[in-house]
Amino acid sequence: MLTYLWHLLLLFAEFFKTGLFAVGGGLATVPFIRDMGATYGWITEAEIANIIAIAESTPGPIGVNAATYVGYLVCGIPGAILATLGLVTPSVIIIILVAKAIKKYYDSHMVQSLFRALRPAAIGLITAAGFSLLLTSLGVKANFTRFVFSANWYSLLKLGIYGVFTFFAFWKKTAKIHPLFYILTGGALGAILSL
């Protein structure tokens, strides 16, 4: 019982640490989880690969999904809850502080010029993330610094489907359709065409 409670506490603390130091989104949590596996023997490398696959293809933030999964493996449902709350707590605290500061100085000259440069860069970053998600979804492996590129015939079919979806997402008459509809259609197409 005592070891169980100790592990619960450890889960919260370890994922709190992850939430505090993992900068740059969900996949940045993976090295921390690997570290937990090495230190406490909570998870194996194979399980980590499993976690990433499941976390990436199910709804929700990847980091949250990974924390819930590890927490459940170690301590059942209470573990899942505590690991997830541990991961989220630093984010919430830090962002509340940042939001307070921004709110106070938002109209100041400095913050305005800060965001004027930050906004286009942020859109560049989102485009880059979307681009890499697209390559993965098309089944294309590319590394531009090492000139590696591989794809298969299915990639072309997937590119076509992506193209049709994109057309509808832009076309004025269909652009107002709720994202959920696209997601359902995508799932159905995936099942029918065995993507």
């Binding site: 939430g19 130091f21 993992a22 900068v23 740059g24 989104g25 969900g26 949590t29 499941i54 976390a55 293809s57 709804p59 929700g60 990847i62 980091g63 999964y69 459940y72 449902i77 899942a80 997830t84 989220v88 984010s91 919430v92 962002i95 940042v98 939001a99 921004i102 400095m110 305005q112 010029s113 800060l114 440069a117 930050l118 906004r119 286009p120 860069a121 942020a122 859109i123 970053l125 989102i126 485009t127 880059a128 993330a129 979307g130 890499s132 998600l133 531009f144 992506y162 979806f165 994109t166 509808f168 709720h178 696209y182 997601i183 995508g186 159905a188 995936g190 099942a191 065409l193 993507l195």
Partner: protein, 177 residues
């Protein structure tokens, strides 16, 4: 907006986002900017920029920002809880019952199709933000550099955000002189 409504809205966003932080972008634009008009496109871009370079999960950071804007600290907590509720239940179920869910081919196919739809939605959303923000040559250069550094150069987004912040601040400082 009531706390309950805020919670439900982020519950919906959390259960529909597949593929990590940016897949919430189309949903955020639809729900927050267009439908409820809680924040503007500019604010959303600002939140995303800060969420990138602050520690933690990007989706939670963004939810906290929006929640704080709507109902301060309580709103921030409620919005974040909304995002994690459904994924937490779902992943627990998968870990408990359906450990081998991903081994069924049909499940993998369904998710492969969903990801294509999500990519299309992200493309349209990013274009919306692009049109709004990238209006001058300077902003286009900043956009292009950020994209190339990360997509081609493999540099961490954190450094790009810090670099852009330094450019913005020195720019503002120069103008003031």
């Amino acid at each position: 907006m009531s706390l309950w409504k805020l919670y439900l809205m982020f519950l919906k966003i959390g259960s529909l986002m597949i593929g990590g932080g940016y897949s919430m972008l189309p949903l955020l634009i639809r729900e927050l900017v267009e439908r409820h008009q809680i924040i503007t496109e500019d604010e959303l871009t600002d939140y995303m920029a800060v969420a990138q370079c602050t520690p933690g999960v990007i989706a939670i950071n963004t939810a906290t920002f929006v929640g704080y804007k709507v109902r301060r600290v309580v709103g921030a907590i409620v919005a974040s809880l909304g995002v994690i509720t459904v994924p937490m239940i779902l992943i627990t179920l998968i870990a408990a019952v359906l450990k081998n869910l991903m081994q069924y081919d049909i499940v993998a196919h369904i998710f492969a199709g969903i990801r294509l739809a999500v990519c299309a939605l992200i493309t349209a959303s990013v274009f919306k933000l692009f049109k709004k923000t990238v209006t001058t040559l300077t902003t286009f250069i900043l956009f292009l550099l950020a994209f190339l550094f990360v997509a081609v150069g493999g540099i961490s987004p954190v450094f790009v955000v810090i670099g852009a912040a330094i450019i913005g601040l020195s720019w503002g400082g120069l103008k003031k002189c």
